[in-house]
Symmetry: C2
Subunit: 163 residues, 2 copies
DNA sequence: CAGGATCAGTCTCACGCGCAACCAATTTAT
DNA sequence: ATAAATTGGTTGCGCGTGAGACTGATCCTG
Protein backbone atom coordinates (compact mmCIF):
# COMPACT_ATOMS: atom_id res chain seq x y z
CA UNK A 1 0.00 0.00 0.00
CA UNK A 2 1.23 3.43 -0.84
CA UNK A 3 1.55 6.23 1.65
CA UNK A 4 -1.91 7.41 2.59
CA UNK A 5 -2.73 9.83 -0.17
CA UNK A 6 -5.35 12.33 0.91
CA UNK A 7 -8.55 11.39 -0.81
CA UNK A 8 -10.19 13.92 -3.06
CA UNK A 9 -13.09 14.08 -0.67
CA UNK A 10 -14.82 16.65 1.42
CA UNK A 11 -15.42 14.22 4.26
CA UNK A 12 -13.35 14.50 7.42
CA UNK A 13 -10.41 12.16 7.29
CA UNK A 14 -10.94 8.58 8.32
CA UNK A 15 -7.54 7.00 8.64
CA UNK A 16 -8.00 3.36 9.43
CA UNK A 17 -4.68 3.12 11.20
CA UNK A 18 -5.91 5.60 13.76
CA UNK A 19 -9.50 4.45 13.86
CA UNK A 20 -10.20 2.73 17.14
CA UNK A 21 -12.55 -0.02 15.94
CA UNK A 22 -10.06 -0.94 13.25
CA UNK A 23 -7.20 -1.09 15.72
CA UNK A 24 -9.24 -3.23 18.06
CA UNK A 25 -10.22 -5.68 15.36
CA UNK A 26 -6.66 -5.91 14.14
CA UNK A 27 -5.18 -6.57 17.56
CA UNK A 28 -7.92 -8.92 18.61
CA UNK A 29 -7.67 -10.92 15.39
CA UNK A 30 -3.93 -11.21 15.72
CA UNK A 31 -3.99 -12.42 19.30
CA UNK A 32 -6.93 -14.74 18.74
CA UNK A 33 -5.29 -16.36 15.77
CA UNK A 34 -2.06 -16.83 17.63
CA UNK A 35 -3.89 -18.30 20.59
CA UNK A 36 -6.03 -20.50 18.38
CA UNK A 37 -2.91 -22.29 17.28
CA UNK A 38 -2.64 -23.79 20.71
CA UNK A 39 -6.05 -25.32 20.99
CA UNK A 40 -6.83 -25.73 17.32
CA UNK A 41 -3.72 -27.38 15.95
CA UNK A 42 -2.67 -29.26 19.03
CA UNK A 43 -6.02 -30.23 20.53
CA UNK A 44 -8.29 -30.21 17.50
CA UNK A 45 -10.70 -27.77 19.03
CA UNK A 46 -12.65 -25.15 17.15
CA UNK A 47 -13.02 -21.71 18.65
CA UNK A 48 -16.55 -22.32 19.95
CA UNK A 49 -15.45 -25.65 21.40
CA UNK A 50 -12.61 -24.01 23.23
CA UNK A 51 -14.94 -21.37 24.59
CA UNK A 52 -17.29 -24.03 25.91
CA UNK A 53 -14.43 -25.83 27.60
CA UNK A 54 -12.99 -22.63 28.99
CA UNK A 55 -16.32 -21.68 30.49
CA UNK A 56 -16.85 -25.08 32.05
CA UNK A 57 -13.32 -25.12 33.32
CA UNK A 58 -14.13 -21.99 35.20
CA UNK A 59 -17.70 -22.79 36.29
CA UNK A 60 -17.95 -26.56 36.51
CA UNK A 61 -21.66 -26.72 35.76
CA UNK A 62 -23.50 -24.54 33.31
CA UNK A 63 -26.34 -24.70 30.84
CA UNK A 64 -25.91 -24.09 27.14
CA UNK A 65 -27.59 -20.76 27.60
CA UNK A 66 -25.11 -19.72 30.28
CA UNK A 67 -22.26 -20.64 28.02
CA UNK A 68 -23.68 -18.79 25.07
CA UNK A 69 -24.01 -15.52 26.92
CA UNK A 70 -20.69 -15.93 28.65
CA UNK A 71 -18.81 -16.75 25.49
CA UNK A 72 -20.69 -14.33 23.24
CA UNK A 73 -21.93 -17.05 20.95
CA UNK A 74 -25.20 -17.83 19.28
CA UNK A 75 -27.08 -20.63 20.98
CA UNK A 76 -26.95 -22.77 17.85
CA UNK A 77 -23.19 -22.40 17.79
CA UNK A 78 -23.03 -23.58 21.37
CA UNK A 79 -25.39 -26.45 20.68
CA UNK A 80 -23.18 -27.76 17.90
CA UNK A 81 -19.99 -27.29 19.84
CA UNK A 82 -21.49 -29.15 22.78
CA UNK A 83 -22.61 -32.04 20.58
CA UNK A 84 -19.14 -32.42 19.16
CA UNK A 85 -17.54 -32.33 22.58
CA UNK A 86 -19.99 -34.88 23.99
CA UNK A 87 -19.25 -37.13 21.02
CA UNK A 88 -15.55 -36.83 21.80
CA UNK A 89 -16.19 -37.68 25.42
CA UNK A 90 -14.96 -34.37 26.74
CA UNK A 91 -18.32 -33.23 28.03
CA UNK A 92 -21.29 -34.79 29.77
CA UNK A 93 -24.93 -33.73 29.69
CA UNK A 94 -26.92 -34.18 32.86
CA UNK A 95 -30.67 -33.68 32.95
CA UNK A 96 -31.89 -31.17 35.44
CA UNK A 97 -34.70 -32.73 37.44
CA UNK A 98 -36.06 -29.33 38.36
CA UNK A 99 -36.40 -28.14 34.77
CA UNK A 100 -36.45 -30.72 32.07
CA UNK A 101 -35.87 -28.14 29.35
CA UNK A 102 -32.35 -27.43 30.31
CA UNK A 103 -29.35 -29.69 30.66
CA UNK A 104 -26.43 -29.25 32.94
CA UNK A 105 -23.12 -29.50 31.21
CA UNK A 106 -19.95 -30.65 32.87
CA UNK A 107 -16.45 -31.56 31.78
CA UNK A 108 -15.55 -35.22 31.90
CA UNK A 109 -12.17 -36.23 33.28
CA UNK A 110 -10.82 -36.29 29.76
CA UNK A 111 -12.26 -32.84 29.18
CA UNK A 112 -10.69 -31.50 32.30
CA UNK A 113 -7.35 -32.96 31.35
CA UNK A 114 -7.46 -31.08 28.08
CA UNK A 115 -8.49 -27.94 29.88
CA UNK A 116 -5.65 -28.38 32.33
CA UNK A 117 -3.24 -28.79 29.43
CA UNK A 118 -4.35 -25.68 27.64
CA UNK A 119 -4.63 -23.28 30.56
CA UNK A 120 -0.92 -22.96 31.33
CA UNK A 121 -0.16 -22.38 27.68
CA UNK A 122 -2.87 -19.79 27.35
CA UNK A 123 -1.61 -17.99 30.42
CA UNK A 124 1.94 -18.17 29.15
CA UNK A 125 0.85 -16.67 25.88
CA UNK A 126 -0.93 -13.88 27.68
CA UNK A 127 2.16 -13.26 29.79
CA UNK A 128 4.36 -13.04 26.72
CA UNK A 129 1.94 -10.65 25.12
CA UNK A 130 1.82 -8.56 28.26
CA UNK A 131 5.56 -8.07 28.34
CA UNK A 132 4.89 -5.27 25.89
CA UNK A 133 3.44 -3.33 28.81
CA UNK A 134 4.85 -2.60 32.22
CA UNK A 135 2.79 -3.67 35.23
CA UNK A 136 1.16 -0.32 35.72
CA UNK A 137 0.22 -0.08 32.07
CA UNK A 138 -1.35 -3.51 32.27
CA UNK A 139 -3.71 -2.49 35.01
CA UNK A 140 -4.49 0.69 33.17
CA UNK A 141 -5.10 -1.10 29.92
CA UNK A 142 -7.52 -3.59 31.39
CA UNK A 143 -9.34 -0.81 33.22
CA UNK A 144 -9.69 1.15 30.01
CA UNK A 145 -11.00 -1.87 28.19
CA UNK A 146 -13.63 -2.18 30.87
CA UNK A 147 -14.65 1.42 30.42
CA UNK A 148 -14.82 1.12 26.67
CA UNK A 149 -16.76 -2.11 26.87
CA UNK A 150 -19.30 -0.53 29.18
CA UNK A 151 -19.60 2.39 26.83
CA UNK A 152 -20.02 0.10 23.83
CA UNK A 153 -22.79 -1.73 25.66
CA UNK A 154 -24.62 1.48 26.36
CA UNK A 155 -24.29 2.58 22.74
CA UNK A 156 -25.85 -0.62 21.40
CA UNK A 157 -27.82 -1.91 24.34
CA UNK A 158 -30.23 -4.29 22.69
CA UNK A 159 -27.59 -6.04 20.68
CA UNK A 160 -27.00 -9.71 21.21
CA UNK A 161 -23.41 -10.00 20.27
CA UNK A 162 -21.70 -12.53 18.14
CA UNK A 163 -17.98 -12.74 18.01
CA UNK B 1 -24.02 -17.50 34.71
CA UNK B 2 -23.35 -18.15 38.37
CA UNK B 3 -20.58 -16.59 40.33
CA UNK B 4 -17.29 -18.09 39.16
CA UNK B 5 -16.99 -21.22 41.21
CA UNK B 6 -13.39 -22.32 41.56
CA UNK B 7 -12.89 -25.35 39.39
CA UNK B 8 -11.75 -28.58 40.99
CA UNK B 9 -8.55 -28.38 39.03
CA UNK B 10 -4.88 -28.21 39.73
CA UNK B 11 -4.26 -25.81 36.88
CA UNK B 12 -3.59 -22.15 37.57
CA UNK B 13 -6.75 -20.16 37.32
CA UNK B 14 -7.87 -18.96 33.94
CA UNK B 15 -10.64 -16.46 34.52
CA UNK B 16 -11.96 -15.40 31.17
CA UNK B 17 -13.12 -12.05 32.47
CA UNK B 18 -9.53 -11.18 33.25
CA UNK B 19 -7.94 -12.91 30.31
CA UNK B 20 -6.62 -10.35 27.86
CA UNK B 21 -7.41 -12.12 24.58
CA UNK B 22 -10.95 -12.70 25.77
CA UNK B 23 -11.38 -9.07 26.74
CA UNK B 24 -10.04 -7.94 23.41
CA UNK B 25 -12.33 -10.19 21.44
CA UNK B 26 -15.32 -9.13 23.49
CA UNK B 27 -14.67 -5.43 23.09
CA UNK B 28 -13.76 -5.70 19.44
CA UNK B 29 -16.86 -7.76 18.65
CA UNK B 30 -19.09 -5.35 20.44
CA UNK B 31 -17.75 -2.27 18.72
CA UNK B 32 -17.58 -3.93 15.32
CA UNK B 33 -21.16 -5.10 15.54
CA UNK B 34 -22.37 -1.70 16.61
CA UNK B 35 -20.44 -0.06 13.80
CA UNK B 36 -21.62 -2.62 11.28
CA UNK B 37 -25.15 -1.44 11.83
CA UNK B 38 -24.28 1.80 10.12
CA UNK B 39 -22.91 0.40 6.91
CA UNK B 40 -24.76 -2.90 6.86
CA UNK B 41 -28.32 -1.92 7.60
CA UNK B 42 -28.32 1.52 6.07
CA UNK B 43 -26.01 1.04 3.09
CA UNK B 44 -26.32 -2.67 2.42
CA UNK B 45 -22.61 -3.29 2.72
CA UNK B 46 -21.01 -6.39 4.10
CA UNK B 47 -17.98 -6.05 6.33
CA UNK B 48 -15.48 -6.88 3.57
CA UNK B 49 -17.23 -4.45 1.24
CA UNK B 50 -16.99 -1.70 3.79
CA UNK B 51 -13.32 -2.43 4.30
CA UNK B 52 -12.67 -2.17 0.59
CA UNK B 53 -14.47 1.15 0.42
CA UNK B 54 -12.74 2.44 3.51
CA UNK B 55 -9.36 1.59 2.08
CA UNK B 56 -10.09 3.20 -1.25
CA UNK B 57 -11.53 6.23 0.46
CA UNK B 58 -8.21 6.66 2.12
CA UNK B 59 -5.89 5.72 -0.76
CA UNK B 60 -7.78 6.46 -3.95
CA UNK B 61 -6.04 3.82 -6.02
CA UNK B 62 -5.07 0.38 -4.80
CA UNK B 63 -4.84 -3.19 -6.03
CA UNK B 64 -6.84 -6.04 -4.55
CA UNK B 65 -3.69 -7.25 -2.90
CA UNK B 66 -3.08 -3.90 -1.24
CA UNK B 67 -6.60 -3.92 0.09
CA UNK B 68 -6.33 -7.47 1.35
CA UNK B 69 -3.23 -6.81 3.42
CA UNK B 70 -4.48 -3.46 4.62
CA UNK B 71 -7.85 -4.79 5.66
CA UNK B 72 -6.62 -8.12 6.96
CA UNK B 73 -8.69 -10.13 4.56
CA UNK B 74 -8.09 -13.16 2.42
CA UNK B 75 -7.57 -12.30 -1.20
CA UNK B 76 -10.60 -14.32 -2.25
CA UNK B 77 -12.71 -12.33 0.18
CA UNK B 78 -11.49 -9.14 -1.38
CA UNK B 79 -12.08 -10.49 -4.86
CA UNK B 80 -15.72 -11.18 -4.08
CA UNK B 81 -16.28 -7.90 -2.32
CA UNK B 82 -14.79 -6.05 -5.26
CA UNK B 83 -16.98 -7.90 -7.75
CA UNK B 84 -20.09 -7.01 -5.80
CA UNK B 85 -19.10 -3.38 -5.53
CA UNK B 86 -18.27 -3.14 -9.22
CA UNK B 87 -21.65 -4.69 -9.99
CA UNK B 88 -23.29 -2.04 -7.85
CA UNK B 89 -21.36 0.67 -9.61
CA UNK B 90 -19.48 1.81 -6.53
CA UNK B 91 -16.08 0.71 -7.78
CA UNK B 92 -14.20 0.75 -11.05
CA UNK B 93 -11.46 -1.55 -12.23
CA UNK B 94 -8.73 -0.06 -14.35
CA UNK B 95 -6.13 -2.20 -16.05
CA UNK B 96 -2.58 -1.34 -15.23
CA UNK B 97 -0.65 -0.99 -18.48
CA UNK B 98 2.63 -1.61 -16.67
CA UNK B 99 1.55 -4.90 -15.14
CA UNK B 100 -1.34 -6.69 -16.72
CA UNK B 101 -1.68 -9.03 -13.77
CA UNK B 102 -3.03 -6.42 -11.44
CA UNK B 103 -5.92 -4.05 -11.67
CA UNK B 104 -6.18 -0.65 -10.15
CA UNK B 105 -9.31 -0.13 -8.14
CA UNK B 106 -10.93 3.22 -7.62
CA UNK B 107 -14.19 4.47 -6.16
CA UNK B 108 -16.74 5.79 -8.60
CA UNK B 109 -18.56 9.00 -7.78
CA UNK B 110 -21.38 6.93 -6.35
CA UNK B 111 -18.89 4.98 -4.29
CA UNK B 112 -17.31 8.11 -2.97
CA UNK B 113 -20.69 9.50 -2.06
CA UNK B 114 -21.39 6.45 0.04
CA UNK B 115 -17.98 6.71 1.62
CA UNK B 116 -18.59 10.36 2.38
CA UNK B 117 -21.88 9.47 4.00
CA UNK B 118 -20.43 6.79 6.21
CA UNK B 119 -17.28 8.52 7.38
CA UNK B 120 -18.91 11.16 9.57
CA UNK B 121 -21.07 8.53 11.20
CA UNK B 122 -18.14 6.25 11.80
CA UNK B 123 -16.16 9.08 13.33
CA UNK B 124 -19.12 10.10 15.45
CA UNK B 125 -19.44 6.55 16.69
CA UNK B 126 -15.76 6.47 17.56
CA UNK B 127 -16.10 9.77 19.36
CA UNK B 128 -19.02 8.52 21.40
CA UNK B 129 -17.10 5.41 22.28
CA UNK B 130 -14.08 7.46 23.25
CA UNK B 131 -16.02 9.54 25.71
CA UNK B 132 -15.41 6.68 28.09
CA UNK B 133 -11.80 7.85 28.25
CA UNK B 134 -10.34 11.23 28.91
CA UNK B 135 -8.01 12.70 26.27
CA UNK B 136 -4.85 11.55 27.94
CA UNK B 137 -6.18 8.04 28.37
CA UNK B 138 -7.07 7.95 24.70
CA UNK B 139 -3.53 8.64 23.63
CA UNK B 140 -2.27 6.12 26.13
CA UNK B 141 -4.73 3.50 25.03
CA UNK B 142 -3.85 3.78 21.37
CA UNK B 143 -0.16 3.70 22.21
CA UNK B 144 -0.61 0.54 24.25
CA UNK B 145 -2.58 -1.09 21.46
CA UNK B 146 0.36 -0.36 19.19
CA UNK B 147 2.76 -1.96 21.62
CA UNK B 148 0.60 -5.03 22.04
CA UNK B 149 0.08 -5.36 18.32
CA UNK B 150 3.80 -5.23 17.70
CA UNK B 151 4.33 -7.85 20.37
CA UNK B 152 1.61 -10.04 18.91
CA UNK B 153 3.28 -9.79 15.52
CA UNK B 154 6.59 -10.86 16.94
CA UNK B 155 5.00 -13.80 18.74
CA UNK B 156 3.39 -15.14 15.57
CA UNK B 157 5.50 -13.63 12.83
CA UNK B 158 4.64 -15.83 9.89
CA UNK B 159 0.93 -15.60 10.41
CA UNK B 160 -1.22 -14.13 7.71
CA UNK B 161 -4.14 -12.83 9.64
CA UNK B 162 -7.79 -13.03 8.94
CA UNK B 163 -10.22 -11.02 10.91
C1' DC C 1 16.08 -15.52 -24.51
C1' DA C 2 14.14 -19.63 -22.90
C1' DG C 3 12.17 -22.13 -18.55
C1' DG C 4 11.10 -22.05 -14.07
C1' DA C 5 9.74 -19.47 -10.10
C1' DT C 6 6.65 -15.93 -8.48
C1' DC C 7 2.71 -13.07 -8.39
C1' DA C 8 -2.33 -11.00 -9.07
C1' DG C 9 -6.66 -12.35 -9.15
C1' DT C 10 -10.61 -15.79 -9.90
C1' DC C 11 -13.05 -19.89 -8.97
C1' DT C 12 -14.56 -24.27 -6.81
C1' DC C 13 -15.22 -26.69 -2.80
C1' DA C 14 -16.43 -27.68 1.84
C1' DC C 15 -17.51 -25.95 6.06
C1' DG C 16 -19.12 -23.12 9.87
C1' DC C 17 -22.10 -19.64 10.96
C1' DG C 18 -26.43 -16.95 11.95
C1' DC C 19 -31.13 -17.14 11.22
C1' DA C 20 -35.46 -18.76 12.03
C1' DA C 21 -38.57 -22.45 12.39
C1' DC C 22 -39.37 -25.90 15.45
C1' DC C 23 -40.14 -29.12 19.68
C1' DA C 24 -40.69 -29.90 24.35
C1' DA C 25 -41.03 -28.16 29.08
C1' DT C 26 -42.55 -24.55 31.97
C1' DT C 27 -44.59 -20.32 33.43
C1' DT C 28 -48.22 -16.88 33.26
C1' DA C 29 -52.82 -15.25 32.52
C1' DT C 30 -57.57 -15.88 32.33
C1' DA D 1 -57.64 -25.65 34.81
C1' DT D 2 -56.41 -24.58 30.36
C1' DA D 3 -54.72 -21.80 26.75
C1' DA D 4 -51.28 -18.65 25.46
C1' DA D 5 -46.77 -17.00 25.94
C1' DT D 6 -42.03 -17.91 27.15
C1' DT D 7 -37.88 -20.44 27.52
C1' DG D 8 -33.95 -24.04 26.63
C1' DG D 9 -32.18 -26.36 23.13
C1' DT D 10 -31.93 -28.57 18.28
C1' DT D 11 -32.04 -28.62 13.38
C1' DG D 12 -32.55 -27.38 8.32
C1' DC D 13 -31.33 -23.82 5.29
C1' DG D 14 -28.82 -20.29 2.80
C1' DC D 15 -24.90 -17.63 2.60
C1' DG D 16 -20.35 -15.87 3.06
C1' DT D 17 -15.93 -17.41 4.14
C1' DG D 18 -11.03 -19.46 3.97
C1' DA D 19 -8.30 -22.86 1.80
C1' DG D 20 -6.26 -23.90 -2.10
C1' DA D 21 -6.11 -25.12 -7.01
C1' DC D 22 -5.83 -22.77 -11.22
C1' DT D 23 -4.95 -19.20 -15.10
C1' DG D 24 -2.51 -15.84 -17.11
C1' DA D 25 1.18 -12.28 -16.63
C1' DT D 26 5.73 -10.96 -15.11
C1' DC D 27 10.19 -11.64 -13.15
C1' DC D 28 14.36 -13.85 -12.65
C1' DT D 29 18.39 -16.85 -13.81
C1' DG D 30 21.44 -19.32 -16.57
Amino acid sequence: MDAPTPASSSAPALTLERFLPYRLVALSARTSNALARIYAERFELTIPQWRVIATLGQSPVATARDIASHGMMHKSTVSRAVSALVARGLLRKEPNAHDMREEHLRLTDAGRRIYDSIVPEALAFEARLMTALDPQERRLFLAMIDKLDAQARSLAPDMEIEA
